[in-house]
Amino acid sequence: MLKYVLHRFMWAIITLWATITITFIIMHSIPGDPFAKEGTMPESVYENLQRHYNLDKPKIVQYFFYLKQVALLDFGPSLKSKTLTVNDYIEKGFPVSFHLGAQAMIIAVFFGLILGVIASLYRKRWPDYTSMIIAIIGISVPSFVLATLLINFLAVKWSFFPVATWKSWSHTVLPSIALAMMPLAYIARLMRTSMIEVLNQDYILTAKAKGLRKNAVIIKHAIRNALMPVVTILGILTANVVTGSFVIEHIFGIPGIGEMFVKGIMNRDYPVILGSTVFYSAILIFLIFIVDVVYTWIDPRIKVTGASK
């Protein structure tokens, strides 16, 4: 196990290095400048800014300087804020995005699994159709539409919840629902397909033939095995959701990190682009690792060993 973890850790470092390098190259090759001289900004002001943020140095020097910084876990200043550094953005924003994302994932996993299981058990009957209609709506309705509808009805018309911002638990309800819909639908559909497949397996027939009660068969044998594909995508879905959604955070005014990447690119805020890419990659790598470990726990047939074999 330890050998496996070390091995994975080494690969994680290499992946991160590659990510930084590629992002660095792409980022500097797109047109546009963080201090584009709009209007009447004089040359001297522009040069001071370039010097202040080390952008006047050759690219290769900037690159190694950045690698050194990242090794010390310092992502540098934001070019657009004299107040917050990239580390501040992550430290302040990530707990918020994580909180929101975790709530959304709980909703998504809980209802997604229930809908999926119900649909598979009542295949081609009305509970199946109802669940799948919900799933299709969840996948096809964009989150900004759903968010707007939620705000319009639950907040403005019926005043059950506050419209937006991030002040108390009741403020988190609407964005959590809006954020949960997509993964919920995704999980429900996957669970349904996977359950149907498992229910047709021979061992289910054997279990039934042994005279096990229907519930026992479904819970102990069917669901457990059907979970595998869901767990596989759970890592990626979670990484997506806990690192914040630009759209949801924008609409609800949530101080998370969802906007970091998008706004970083829009502003050509190089440290923010790099910082959010590195951070997002690290989270993704970590969660995929967790998923691999969870596999062994759900399915004892899978063993974690070293890389060879």
Binding site: D33, T165, S168
Partner: protein, 553 residues
């Protein structure tokens, strides 16, 4: 087997406990529990709280490095400069009494008695000298340092060629500030009310260079002080008891939320969570502008929306072609049916609201050209013939990606197609890319806008001199340059204004740029809020605002 199932269940439960326990709602929850601050036993005094939206997290609440409305809206209420402006736009005493200057170059400001910082320190002339030199220092790397380039030696110091001592600002003693400008500047007293010219507390800045990043260490000298800043979430201002005119300040608390989505902010305004909404979503503006809603207000704005024609590209080098394109645009249709914010069609470049020697500068200018399809067709044919072309080649309108710009570009495209038979394509890019291409001259027609830095026609007129960095139309005219240069060298308002009127007329005869409309500032304020005013070059100001608490209930 069994154990496993329960442990999964336990894990989910544990996760839920952790999440519900974790508090990501910022460090303090003081806002709700505070209640009325000064109940005197007899009658409960209710705090007057104004709620509004600052749209974006401020990048810097330091006057020297601030550079946008998300910074300045807060700064304008937390700080005060040497001078300030009344709701009517008149320049009056701020921290200093309004001085006079015969030559427009040497100005001596006397700081008034008993001016205090929010921490009780006296405001001195040294604070101003220090603040201006701080913003100009090359190592500060301030975007807006150039706002101070009016001072003698300022540009050289910022460019690393001069020293701080050579900058034309000197505190003679605690109350006397001597300023020497590089050249005569009649509107200098307008500039001293602008935020780059605000003072900073020298002692605080030297002790803690990061004082402006947190509310706990924040010190200012204006009507309000910063008492809470939850980054990316909210900013709270409270009345500054050390402010010399504190009796005129009625609000106790001002809460800014930070919410980028205009539609959500509008919903919050409608549900009563906000008292003032600005900026408004475009369709809401359109509806309100045509209604007689009492909460809706519109005011002039110091900015113009226009199209650049690249004068280096054939046939836009021909004045008849340029005029034809301009005359074929129906500006009234654009403002009323497309932009929909109560904007004003522009037939000149300097927007209304700027005082002339007598009256309003833009009103005195009047319309410098008129629209007309037949005339436009004729001019186009003549212009093309002069360039040896039989038909205007296909060209594109470049604009930065935005729904609003897109709609306007589509309208113009259709008008040019229908009225002149010209094929036009639309091209949208990111803002930064558009700027790059304009600078490099790689465009034919591009969308542009300009917001004036100070209330004087010059803030617009010097954009199109040959030397100007923003002359993206690449238009050069010696006569125009001469008039602007003359106007810049004199303090005689009559001569200045005459020259600028003449230059503007020439600009519109030559039409290197096509003005479309003057922006306005449509906003809504709840009826129980009074005293909000909108200076031409500022966001709505609530320094003297008041809330009728009975009406609010």
């Amino acid at each position: 087997m069994k154990r496993n199932k329960y442990s999964l269940f336990a894990l989910v439960l544990a996760l839920m406990v952790v999440i519900s326990g974790c508090n990501s709602f910022g460090a303090s929850e003081k806002t709700t529990t505070k209640g009325s601050g000064k109940s005197d036993g007899k009658k409960e005094v209710v705090e007057k709280v104004l709620n509004l939206n600052n749209s974006s997290e401020p990048g810097s609440l330091h006057p020297g490095t601030a550079q946008g409305t998300h910074d300045s809206w807060i700064l304008e209420h937390a700080f005060e400069g040497l001078t300030k402006k009344t709701p009517e736009g008149e320049i009056i005493d701020g921290m200093a009494s309004v001085p006079t200057s015969d030559d427009g170059i040497n100005w001596t400001f006397k700081i008034k008695k008993d001016m205090k910082w929010s921490n009780g320190d006296p405001v001195t002339a040294h604070d101003f000298e220090f603040a201006w030199k701080y913003a100009l220092a090359p190592e500060t790397a301030s975007d807006y340092a150039y706002q101070l380039f009016y001072l003698e030696g300022a540009e050289a110091y910022n460019g690393g060629e001069g020293t701080a001592d050579q900058v034309g600002v000197k505190a003679k003693d605690d109350v006397t500030l001597e300023v020497k400008l590089a050249q005569a500047t009649p509107y200098f007293l307008d500039l001293t009310s602008f935020y780059t010219y605000y003072p900073i507390n020298k002692k605080i800045q030297e002790e803690n260079p990061k004082w402006f990043t947190e509310a706990t260490s924040y010190v200012s000298n204006g009507p309000f002080k910063l008492t809470e800043w939850k980054h990316k979430e909210s900013v709270k201002l409270e009345k500054n008891e050390n402010y010399y005119e504190k009796d005129k300040i009625n609000l106790d608390v001002v809460n800014f939320i930070i919410l980028e989505d205009e539609n959500t902010a509008w919903q919050m305004y409608k549900s009563g969570e906000l008292d003032l909404a600005y900026p408004l979503p475009q369709d809401v503006q359109g509806q309100l502008a045509q209604s007689d809603d009492k909460e809706f207000h519109n005011g002039p704005d110091l900015s113009v929306y226009y199209y650049n024609l690249n004068n280096d590209v054939k046939p836009f080098n021909n004045v008849k072609v340029r005029r034809a394109l301009s005359m074929a645009i129906d500006r009234k249709t654009i403002t009323e049916n497309v932009a929909q914010g109560g904007q004003q069609p522009a037939y000149s470049v300097v927007p209304p609201g700027i005082p002339d020697v007598n009256g309003d500068y833009q009103e005195n200018t009047g319309d410098l050209f008129s629209e007309g399809i037949e005339e436009a067709k004729k001019l186009l044919a003549e212009g093309l013939a002069e360039e040896g072309m039989d038909k205007l080649p296909e060209f594109s309108i470049l604009f930065n990606t935005s729904e609003g710009h897109q709609k306007i570009a589509e309208a113009v495209q259709e008008m040019w197609r229908k009225n002149l038979g010209v094929t036009v394509t639309l091209e949208n890019t990111e803002f930064q890319v558009k700027l790059d291409r304009e600078k490099a001259g790689e465009y034919q027609v591009s969308r542009a806008g300009w917001i004036g830095d100070y209330v004087d026609p010059m803030t617009f007129m010097d954009l199109w001199t040959s030397e100007s960095a923003y002359n993206d139309a690449n238009w050069k005219n010696a006569e125009y340059d001469k008039w602007i240069a003359e106007a810049k060298q004199t303090m005689d308002q009559q001569v200045r204004m005459d020259n600028m009127h003449k230059a503007e007329k020439l600009l519109m005869d030559e039409m290197p740029i096509i003005p479309i409309y003057f922006y306005t500032k449509p906003h809504t304020v709840k009826e129980y809020v009074t005293g909000v005013y909108t200076p031409i070059n500022r966001y709505p100001q609530f320094i003297y605002a008041d809330i009728d608490m009975d009406a609010k209930e």
